[in-house]
């Protein structure tokens, strides 16, 4: 699928990798479980004896069954798989989290969450509420905070998410590949207005953005 942002692209491929391994492993494990149940199931008529046939277990007997080696070997296999998943997670995270602070093209925008809405302040002091306008193909660095309670800033389509915490500034970044409208929403319960704490992300072609904002290059220093 075509992702509207590099962060979403990386996230999607990592997600697919996890889905594949999760589905394959659970399917194998559940299939073995299902096979055992069907294979060793006794006819229900055997219940009539109250299940009094000789069981293998006995109170006070040292457990004799099972080779620990099998369990450990299987666990190690699982462990190795998780090491693989973790390694790819870390490389994905490195990209998603590496804030392009030094990138001269990056546009820094302050995000202030409040009950209930989003306020965006641009380098030139321009402040708007409820709508975030950005140029495409430009790294956008967000400095996120909150004026009142704990919120979470998220652009779900881009897989960008960061908590907006009072008295604290958190950083996030993204880059829109295609012009369009996307949803910005709060992802932490923040009161009765939580569900409607939504803003629009408007990714614009650079010329259009500059027509609205003014020349970008002059604002950076």
């Amino acid at each position: 699928m075509a992702a509207p942002a590099p962060s979403a692209e990386i996230w999607n491929s990592l997600f697919m990798m996890y889905v594949t391994s999760a589905v394959v492993i659970s399917a194998v494990v559940l299939a073995i479980l299902g096979y055992f149940v069907l294979r060793y199931r006794q006819p229900s008529s055997s219940l009539a004896d109250g299940g009094q046939d000789e069981p293998e277990f006995r109170i006070g007997a040292e457990p004799t069954r099972g080779s620990a080696k099998v369990a450990i070997a299987l666990s190690v296999i699982l462990g190795l798989l998780f090491v693989g998943l973790t390694a790819s997670t870390f490389s994905a995270m490195e990209f998603m989290e590496e804030i392009p602070e030094d990138n001269p093209n990056a546009l820094h925008i302050k995000v202030t969450a409040f009950q209930w809405g989003w306020q965006f302040t641009y380098p030139n002091g321009r402040t708007i509420t409820g709508e975030l306008r950005v140029p495409v193909n430009t790294p956008i660095v967000l400095e996120i905070t909150s004026r009142d309670v704990f919120h979470t800033f998220a652009i779900a389509a881009f897989k960008v998410k960061k908590d907006a915490i009072p008295d604290r500034i958190n950083f996030a970044w993204f880059e829109a590949k295609e012009a369009g409208e996307y949803r910005i929403q709060c992802y932490e319960l923040c009161g009765t207005g939580h569900a409607k704490m939504i803003a629009t992300l408007l990714a614009m072609e650079t010329e259009q953005f500059e027509a609205w904002y003014g020349k970008l290059s002059e604002e950076k220093g």
Binding site: S7, I10, W11, F15, A22, S26, V29, I32, L33, F36, V37, Y40, R41, Q42, S44, G50, G51, D53, P55, E56, F57, R58, I59, G60, A61, E62, P63, R65, G66, V70, A71, I72, L74, S75, L78, G79, F82, L85, T89, F90, M96, D148, V149, F150, T152, A156, K161, D163, I165, R168, I169, F171, R183, Y187, L189, C190, G191, T192, H194, A195
Partner: protein, 817 residues
């Protein structure tokens, strides 16, 4: 009450009972009731979410319903349901006649019920109850943003529940460690008893750790401290403390159900558990790991990336022990002779659903994927698969498994299987589609049609109806069984060789083992008479028992062996005390008359309880003759106190951690932390320290005195400790009064808040100690202690030592640095 043991009134029995089986049934009925309440709440908000632009619940009702659903299911349903079975079967499984402290056991239950009633009553407070989600994030949880009194009441209700749990935990630990039958090694116990013991360790550290932030929250809301409004504390202080509790809590919820699943799989496949030792090691490792993963709930808070990688790894590590447990369970079935009864099916369901929940959990451990998942319905789906799927499904297996034991009657297998089928269909229709909503935020009461979330939500809501209706079948089946179910013998499932409860009648008599004391020998289970054990005749062949069979050194003269030798198994005080506490809390919001009644009843019950003790009217002395490893050399009462104090460490630990957290943060926020001596007089603090140390010495002297049967020394020591303790309280009160007069109050700044909270809680501990001294003195004057019998004094000495020890940390933090 003295004559009540002949033919007591049933109402009296149920209200005043201290018998573990009755307490278990009380827990069962109450937790199922709360399950229905919390389930109906869920149905209402699922209705609201069923379609876009829905108008069924308003935002504030929705938020309250979501919050109460979460809190009830986590705190008042799942663990208490497990506790119901634990109360009923664990004492039997280990071969004991009752819990170590039957009255405290009853107290745990009544405090639990009282806390539930207080929590429900918060709904009717003006403005409603807590509406901040069960996670109670700061600063939404402060008065400024959630002014309703019901929120504070909910905080108090949770604190009450936590205290009920700590009492129960200390009790279970002493019971499982010290009341086992002769020859019953820990590793011989079925998984349920073993996992329950592990769960107790988790509870002992996690629940008090949750009490710390709750105390801060309630003090913010009621006294005006500033923990969660000040920049130095605030959101992240709450986050760290909540999630330190939060992840162990997940295993607290899941382990008992998984344990039942394992036991049931083994019994109904007639095979030993596969690699039982690996299972035991794995569950212990998982329990330990659960304390070092909490930051994975905070990946988005902007904490250091390196820290996130560490917690990413610890979190993924958790899947290894759980993977080992699941694989062992599956391999258990290999080569078995499986009887697919209702309990077996639910055990199987628990394993299947937990595997799916475990697989989706791996996603959440990934810091990168968590960017997408956090705060979405994916997470909701995941934790319902683990907690409901793994935990509750296992507990339902337990309900069917032990139902004939508890009632003496069988249920309908047909209805049981129907329940299972509808349960699994409803469950998966309800929770699986949530994974597809990995962009939809949790806890929104409203979404519009452009989101495209409507159809999946409709599916989920339909699933919720099917899932809920499966419980109706369960209840019909159980009620029918009570009236018309065929009677069963001791062992309807063929579990007699697996665990002890299938070797006693259904339901078991008051002291569980009518055939004698269960003894585990190399040949298996035997029943011996107590005198045979005391004379050292332990097996038919005269062979030695396994392990360390510590016989009472005093000849067991005060060891009660038969029901008739026990005092009445009833005490009114746990029940009355809980009424007092509940009325006091409810009265805080609903009116002073209630409050006053509550306080009077509370004080009266404490006096009544102490008096019952001083007069030794209640003596269900549950002394065991068997295994006590590894606590052979500690008596029950001091051991219970040790465990309780471990819980206390988990309370004070986070309080001190909070101190360092806000103090470290003040360097960033620019808050000038007061210099030593600037606010608190170092001299006064030093005087308190010296007096407290002296009182500790006096307590030790009292203990040494009574060990030598020196009655005067005991009284003198206790009296000295009392006077010194009182002096410290006065000095403390004097300092508080002076500071208040200078205008330095609870809410002055964060340093004041933490000072008042820690010294206040410490002062409350001193006050409690003084009350215990009064009780000890009363009993001492009645001649209640001698060289052999002085465990109350011993336990108090440990407690007082702890109180002094906490002060040795407190003093430097506020007076010297």
């Amino acid at each position: 009450m003295a004559h009540a043991n002949n033919k007591p009134n049933p109402l009296v029995v149920w209200l005043f009972t201290t018998n573990h089986k009755n307490v278990g049934i009380l827990y069962l009925v109450t937790s199922l009731y709360f399950l229905v309440v919390a389930g109906i709440l869920a149905l209402t908000f699922r209705m609201q979410l069923s379609a876009p632009n829905m108008v069924f619940l308003a935002a504030d009702s929705y938020n309250q319903a979501v919050t109460l659903h979460g809190l009830f299911m986590l705190l008042w349903v799942t663990t208490p349901l497990a506790a119901a079975f634990a109360n009923y079967v664990v004492p039997i499984q280990i071969g004991a006649k009752d819990m170590a402290f039957p009255r405290l056991n009853a107290l745990s239950y009544w405090l639990y019920l009282a806390s539930g009633i207080v929590a429900l009553s918060s709904f009717f407070a003006p403005g409603g109850t807590a509406d901040w989600g069960w996670t109670t994030y700061a600063p939404l949880n402060t008065l400024q943003y959630s002014p309703q009194a019901g929120g504070s009441l909910m905080g108090l209700a949770i604190l009450l529940l936590l205290s009920s749990t700590i009492v129960a935990t200390s009790n279970f630990m002493v019971t499982i460690f010290r009341l086992r039958a002769p020859g019953m090694k820990l590793s011989y116990l079925p998984l349920f008893s073993i996992f329950w013991l592990v769960t107790q360790f988790l509870l002992l550290w996690a629940f008090p750790a949750f009490a710390a932030p709750l105390l801060m929250l309630v003090s913010d809301r009621v006294l005006g401290t500033v923990f969660f409004t000040a920049a130095e504390g605030g959101a992240l202080l709450w986050d760290h403390l909540l999630w330190f509790f939060g992840h162990p809590e997940v295993y607290i919820l899941v382990l008992p159900g998984l344990a039942i699943a394992g036991d049931v799989l083994a019994v109904f496949s007639r095979r030993q558990l596969y690699a039982k030792k690996v299972i035991i090691i794995a569950v212990s490792v998982a329990a330990f790991l659960s304390y070092v993963v909490w930051v994975h709930h905070m990946f988005m808070t902007g904490i250091h990336p390196g820290l996130r990688e560490v917690f990413n790894i610890t979190t993924e590590l958790i899947s290894i022990p759980f993977g080992a447990i699941m694989l062992s369970y599956i391999l258990t079935l290999f080569g078995g002779r499986i009887r697919a009864t209702t309990p077996f099916l639910f055990a199987l369901g628990s394993v299947i659903l937990f595997i799916i929940g475990g697989a989706s959990g791996v996603f959440n451990s990934s810091v990168a994927l968590d960017v997408g998942m956090r705060g979405t319905f994916w997470v909701v789906g995941h934790f319902h698969y683990t907690i409901v799927g793994g935990g509750i499904t296992g507990l339902i297996a337990g309900l069917y498994y032990w139902w004939p034991k508890m009632t003496g009657r069988m249920f309908s297998e047909k209805l049981g299987k129907l329940h299972f089928a509808i349960y699994m269909i409803g469950f998966n229709l309800l929770y699986f589609p949530m994974h597809l909503l990995y962009d939809m935020p949790r806890r929104i009461f409203f979404y519009d049609a452009t989101t495209g979330w409507g159809p999946i939500n409709m599916l989920i809501t339909m699933g919720s109806w099917i899932f809920a209706s499966s419980f109706i079948i369960l209840f019909i089946n159980l009620i029918n069984s009570l009236r018309h179910g065929p009677k069963v013998g001791d062992d309807p499932w063929g579990g007699a060789n697996y665990s002890l409860e299938w070797n006693v009648p259904s339901p078991p008599p008051e002291f569980n083992f009518p055939k004698g004391v269960p003894v585990i020998t190399a040949q298996g289970l035997e029943f011996r008479q107590p005198w045979e054990i005391k004379m050292g005749i332990t097996t038919t062949g005269g062979q030695q028992l396994y392990g360390t069979t510590a016989l009472p050194t005093n000849g067991g003269s005060h060891v009660a062996e038969h029901g008739e030798e026990h005092g009445p198994h009833l005490s009114p005080w746990p029940f009355i005390l809980s009424i007092g506490v509940a009325l006091t809390m409810i009265g805080l919001v609903f009116g002073v008359p209630l409050l006053l009644q509550g306080v009077v009843i509370f004080i009266a019950s404490i006096v009544g309880w102490a008096w019952e003790d001083v007069k030794e009217k209640f003596h269900v002395a549950i002394e065991a003759l068997g295994e006590k490893w590894p606590f052979d050399r500690v008596e029950n009462v001091p051991l219970g106190m040790w465990f309780f104090l471990f819980g206390e460490v988990a309370l004070f630990g986070p309080l001190f951690a909070a101190y360092f957290f806000v103090r470290a943060n003040s360097a960033y926020t620019g808050f000038a932390w007061p210099l030593p001596g600037q606010i608190h007089s170092t001299v006064m603090g030093a005087i308190s320290t010296i007096i407290l140390l002296t009182s500790g010495l006096a307590t030790s002297l009292a203990l040494v005195a009574i060990k030598n049967n020196n009655q005067r020394g005991l009284k003198a020591g206790l009296l000295t400790a009392f006077i010194l303790g009182l002096a410290v309280l006065f000095i403390e009160g004097f300092q508080w009064a002076e500071l208040f007069a200078e205008g330095y109050t609870f809410g002055t700044d964060i340093a004041a808040s933490i000072y008042y909270l820690i010294t206040g809680i410490h002062g409350a501990h001193i006050l409690a100690g003084l009350l215990i001294i009064i009780y000890l003195l009363a009993k001492a004057y009645k001649g209640g202690y001698n060289a052999e019998k002085h465990m109350g004094v011993y336990a108090f000495a440990i407690y007082w030592g702890f109180v002094v020890g906490v002060w040795l940390f407190t003093f430097p933090l506020f007076y010297l640095i």
